[in-house]
């Protein structure tokens, strides 16, 4: 025992001399390779750009595929710029006979809008076996039978790869893929509304498939043609849409409109490949800065630099900009990105604070109640990083997504719905009592901003300060909006026919119902908080809790009374928020999954929406939007809720952390300094083996007396 105690200090002192941390969860990088380490929390379901829609999938898909347009990384408000195009698409207006109209033509005379897109030359696809050819120019791996491809079980089994140049044909092919019922594209119905004859294309492909022996086998989509899609030459194509829809250009920056070469589609339809998971949903093929080299959604996804990536440079900035050292530098800045699956928040945050993840999150900041106190403290200037975080020089970046979380009133409901003065006053009274800022402070760690209209910050039509506050719910005092008093809300309630929260005719207390799904009702404090908001003005609140499927069904059928919902915009235009209140988009009206879940239907609002929908952003349009916002405040179909403002944390060796609310293709801008990372990982992760030694000591301390007792017992005699 004495010997053990004697060597203890030596063992403890040696713990400071390790050359590699013991707790490093990351694989060892090759020498000289710049690797970015991060995480993902949801297993991606689809990597096919015709199918993939979620932000989580965008973490991978958006780094691999290149739609024709992208958002400028640094400019705000958000600005579209060409990505694979030589210049922005040319818009041409046509009348019903297909005759070209001047750009000043009256809106109602425009029957079609044609977008002409011209590609940059020389863009190549990533190396891929789909493009590999033999000496005769025949594709090596396009098989006609399962037998031919039997030896290949993953994409990495193919010895040869090839590439090809990006052409207009590939973009058109991908748009046609979205009409193929087999691909189950989530925006098929939307495209049917806009692209000329798109629904005919869907019918043609459907008909062809029905006549096939194997309904899922390959069909050459180049054999199908419609008026809405036209290939002018190898580098130019045209999309013609019905009427006027200026927001269409935003869709051209989304992954759905990425190119997909026919060769790749044919390759992935090789007989038997689907059974082996060799599919486009599993192995994407694109032209962007990165290519997927490992797809193991159960644990790890790896993106590596595409060796054929065309030249793209960091935006040009002035010397005074903090981005100056990257100005016009060639992209991307990293060689590899390793994303590890992290489902639990605590391990994720621990790995970040140990320096093993470069950022706290990608699509979610992951700063929840478990870690908030470790990251933030409340100082004299409000919220600030804790000394520990400051010592580590952690960089904080705020993300304002174009999103809103609101509480909706079902306008078809006999109690809270309707458009008469009384029902309006009831909703307004509840809007005053229901303090969403309090909700954000308590339950979202202050990571959100109380909303005053359906339009969140960063979107044209959003206004700050006195111009943007909601006068129905707030008063403007001391340069800030102050929520109207509960007494005033009670007055409104009395005028609505419920003095002191009782029906003036029957004398019965007013009982309202919030419909919610079981998962969102799991937090008792939140339910209590909601109940208290209604109790402030004497209204009793009950919860109608069902499983998520039934909840959605109730929303669809208009059988709710009050419910909470959220919306993340597809593109940064007010139209993508105001359409949530457009009457014809009512879910109950179509008994379908539509976007207007409150079933709000105000003819004046609808007429204004129809106008702004076809207008480009201009002072005139903003004026109309202002009017629409005002109507929505008075009618109060929503308690406007809050817009999320998440704080993302970045370790000190990561640069270009600026968040973009809409764009997903940001990995190419990320810059890492691996030397600083290595140094800090060593510093943060010195193992402490003293508890191990203490534990061993304790074990012996227990064993020795037991052994002695046993020995004594064995020697005992009767």
């Amino acid at each position: 025992m004495r010997r053990i105690l004697a060597i203890l200090p030596i063992i403890i002192s040696t713990t400071g001399c390790i050359d590699k941390p013991w707790n490093n969860p990351n694989p060892t990088a090759k020498a000289g390779e710049i690797v970015y380490y991060s995480s993902f929390s949801l297993r991606p379901k689809h990597l096919d750009p015709a199918r993939s829609y979620s932000t989580d999938e965008g973490l991978f898909v958006d780094q691999i595929y290149e739609p024709p347009l992208q958002y400028h990384y640094l400019k705000r408000p958000y600005e579209l710029i060409p990505l694979t195009l030589e210049s922005m698409p040319r818009e041409t207006y046509l009348d019903a006979n297909g005759k070209v109209l001047p750009s000043t033509a009256a809106t109602d005379s425009i029957a079609y809008t044609r977008y002409t897109l011209t590609l940059k030359k020389g863009i190549q696809y990533q190396p891929h076996p789909a493009f590999a050819k033999n000496e005769d120019g025949q594709y090596l791996y396009h098989f006609d039978s399962e037998h031919e491809g039997r030896q290949y079980t993953t994409l990495y089994d193919f010895e040869e790869t090839g590439t090809k140049q990006l052409t207009a044909r590939d973009y058109v092919y991908q748009i046609k893929r979205m009409a193929d019922p087999k691909n189950l594209s989530p925006i098929k119905s939307l495209l049917e509304t806009y692209i000329v004859e798109f629904s005919d294309l869907n019918k043609q492909i459907k008909f062809s498939r029905e006549n096939l022996k194997d309904k899922n086998s390959w069909i050459d989509l180049e054999d199908f043609n419609i008026a809405g899609l036209n290939i002018v030459n190898d580098y130019t194509y045209e999309i013609t849409i019905n009427g006027l829809y200026p927001q269409f250009k935003y869709w051209l920056a989304m992954r759905f409109f990425s190119p997909l070469p026919k060769e790749a589609d044919r390759f992935y339809h090789n007989p038997g490949f689907k059974k082996k998971n060799i599919s486009l949903d599993w192995y994407p093929v694109g032209t962007a800065a990165f290519m997927l080299t490992k797809n193991d959604p159960n644990s790890e996804m790896v993106l590596e630099r595409n060796p054929n990536f065309h030249e793209e440079r960091f935006p040009s900035v002035s010397e005074s900009s903090k981005f100056y050292r990257f100005s016009e530098k060639k992209l991307p800045f990293i060689d590899k990105a390793i994303f590890r699956l992290e489902k639990e928040a605590l391990p994720l945050f621990t790995k970040f604070s140990q320096g093993y993840y470069d950022r706290s999150g990608e699509t979610h900041a992951n700063i929840g109640s478990h870690s908030f106190d470790q990251v933030f403290s409340f100082g004299a200037d409000g919220i600030e990083l804790t000394p520990d975080m400051q010592e580590k020089n952690i960089q904080l970046e705020q993300d304002e997504k174009p999103a809103i979380y609101y509480t909706g009133f079902n306008m078809l409901d006999p109690v809270v719905g309707g458009y008469d003065e009384k029902s309006r006053k009831l909703r307004q009274a509840i809007s005053i009592a229901y303090n969403d800022q309090e909700y954000v402070d308590i339950f979202a760690n202050g990571q959100g901003k109380e909303a005053h209209s359906p339009i969140p910050p960063g979107i044209p039509g959003y206004q700050e300060g006195v111009k943007g506050y909601n006068p129905i719910v707030f008063d403007w005092e001391q340069d800030r909006p102050i929520r109207k008093s509960i007494d005033y809300a009670k007055e409104l309630l009395a005028k609505a026919g419920y003095p002191n929260g009782r029906d003036e005719k029957t004398g019965k207390p007013l009982v309202l119902y919030i419909d919610m799904s079981a998962s969102s009702s799991s937090s008792t404090p939140i339910l209590d908080w909601k109940r208290k908001q209604f109790e402030k003005i004497g209204i009793q609140l009950e919860f109608r809790i069902t499983d998520y499927n039934r909840f959605k069904e109730k929303v669809r059928q208009g059988n709710t009374q009050i419910f909470s919902w959220g919306w993340l915009a597809d593109y940064p235009d007010p139209e993508n928020f105001l359409f949530l209140l457009y009457g014809p988009n009512s879910s109950a009206k179509c008994a379908c999954d539509s976007v207007n879940n409150t079933n709000y239907d105000n003819p004046e609002f609808n007429a204004l929406y129809e106008k702004i929908k076809v207008m480009e952003n201009s002072p005139k349009r903003l004026k109309l939007i202002e009017k629409m916002v005002e109507i929505s405040r008075i009618d109060a179909p929503w308690i406007f809720g809050y817009t999320p403002q998440e704080f993302y944390l970045n370790n000190q060796w990561v640069s270009n952390n600026k968040r973009h609310g809409v764009a997903g293709n940001l990995l190419k801008y990320t810059h890492i300094d691996p030397e600083i990372r290595e140094k800090n990982q060593m510093k943060y992760n010195q193992p402490n083996i003293a508890p191990l030694i203490a534990g061993t000591g304790l074990f012996f301390a227990l064993i020795i007396p037991a052994a002695t007792a046993y020995r004594r017992r064995q020697k005992e005699t009767i």
């Binding site: 013991w22 707790n23 119905s189 949903d281 159960n298 489902k343 621990t350 959605k552 379908c592």
Partner: protein, 324 residues
């Protein structure tokens, strides 16, 4: 013995059909094919036609059990139940709702599950038996009473508590091992902590149970005779008491062995082990019936194998037992 195994295997068929029907009914009581389609297609811009398309693609466009529009045997065969369940019996699990091959996924994920579950099981079993025997050695003393109190305390603490405390101290504070994750190239680095937690959290229940088995044996005549003949206490415990107490131990242990393939739901989830436990959990969350059905089927098959193995192990542990 062979005829016994064949008979038990044949008995398994109606059990598996019953399990299948039960899983099917329970799943579809909660989720209709329309709900499943909506869950997979998302909330935005979805039409009834899209939902119908999805159902056709995935084979959910047919009636659940009986197809009244068909005649003869097709009334039963042209249904979701028939089409989806029959293939399971030839271990054709088909595709998950996101299009991925379930068999390929299972083959990939069973290894991390085994890498955790097997050592956790073996080390846990050995330690539980040793601790229980050690306690028996001091039966009736204060040490015995203290040990029982510790066992009860250990089994009263939630499994999650062990995980959180283990991760906090070993990975976060002392930085001895990674807090979570799994690399096939160096799995032990990631498995030490979950195995340690799994073993410690299991000692309370396991050692307490085995102590009871051993205690009963320790008071029997053969033990007293052995002691009288001068056998040491350690020899008595390991050579005489342990083999005689094996039957009740095997009853609880052997049945678990095949199910080790299925992984550990909570442990895999918290430690980021990409095994079958987390696969099942994800499938339930995403309403993927194809995976749920396959995993329940495999679980049932393995459980039945476990029961047969248990019976066989009795013949090994006690030569008097004969299977007929």
């Amino acid at each position: 013995m062979l005829s016994y195994i064949i008979r038990r295997t044949l008995y398994a068929i109606p059990i598996l059909i019953g399990v299948n029907i039960l899983t099917f009914v329970l799943f579809f009581v909660i989720n209709s094919p329309d709900d499943m389609a909506r869950a997979h297609l998302g909330d935005k811009y979805i039409t009834e036609e899209d939902i119908d398309n999805w159902k056709i693609q995935k084979g959910y466009d047919k009636p659940l059990f009986i197809n009244s529009s068909e005649s003869g045997f097709d009334k039963f065969s042209e249904t979701i139940f028939f089409n989806n369940s029959l293939k399971l019996f030839v271990f054709d699990f088909g595709q998950a709702d996101d299009g991925r091959n379930i068999t390929a996924d299972i083959k990939q994920r069973m290894w991390p599950s085994l890498a955790f579950a097997l050592p956790n099981f073996i080390v846990g079993l050995v330690i539980n038996i040793c601790v229980a025997l050690l306690v028996i050695m001091f039966r009736g003393t204060k040490l015995d009473q203290t040990a029982v109190a510790i066992f009860v305390s250990l089994l009263s603490i939630s499994y999650l508590f062990y995980i959180i405390v283990g991760q906090y101290f070993f990975a976060k504070t002392w930085k001895l091992v990674p807090i979570s994750g799994y690399l096939p190239s160096e799995p032990w680095k990631f498995l030490i902590l979950p195995i340690l937690i799994g073993v410690i959290s299991g000692i309370g229940q396991g050692a307490r149970l085995y102590r009871t088995f051993f205690l009963e044996e320790a008071g029997k005549d053969y033990a007293r005779t052995a002691r009288a003949k001068g056998v040491t206490e350690i020899q008595l415990l390991f050579k005489h008491i342990l083999p005689n107490a094996l039957i009740p131990i095997l009853t609880g242990v052997v049945v678990v062995i095949p199910i080790l393939f299925m992984g550990a739901l909570v442990m895999e989830s918290f430690f980021g082990i990409p095994g079958l436990g987390s696969y099942m959990l994800d499938a339930i969350r995403s309403q993927d019936f194809a995976i749920v059905r396959s995993m329940v089927f495999i679980g049932s098959v393995l459980y039945i194998i476990g029961l047969i193995l248990t019976d066989i192990s009795y013949t090994w542990a006690d030569p008097r037992v004969r299977l007929s």
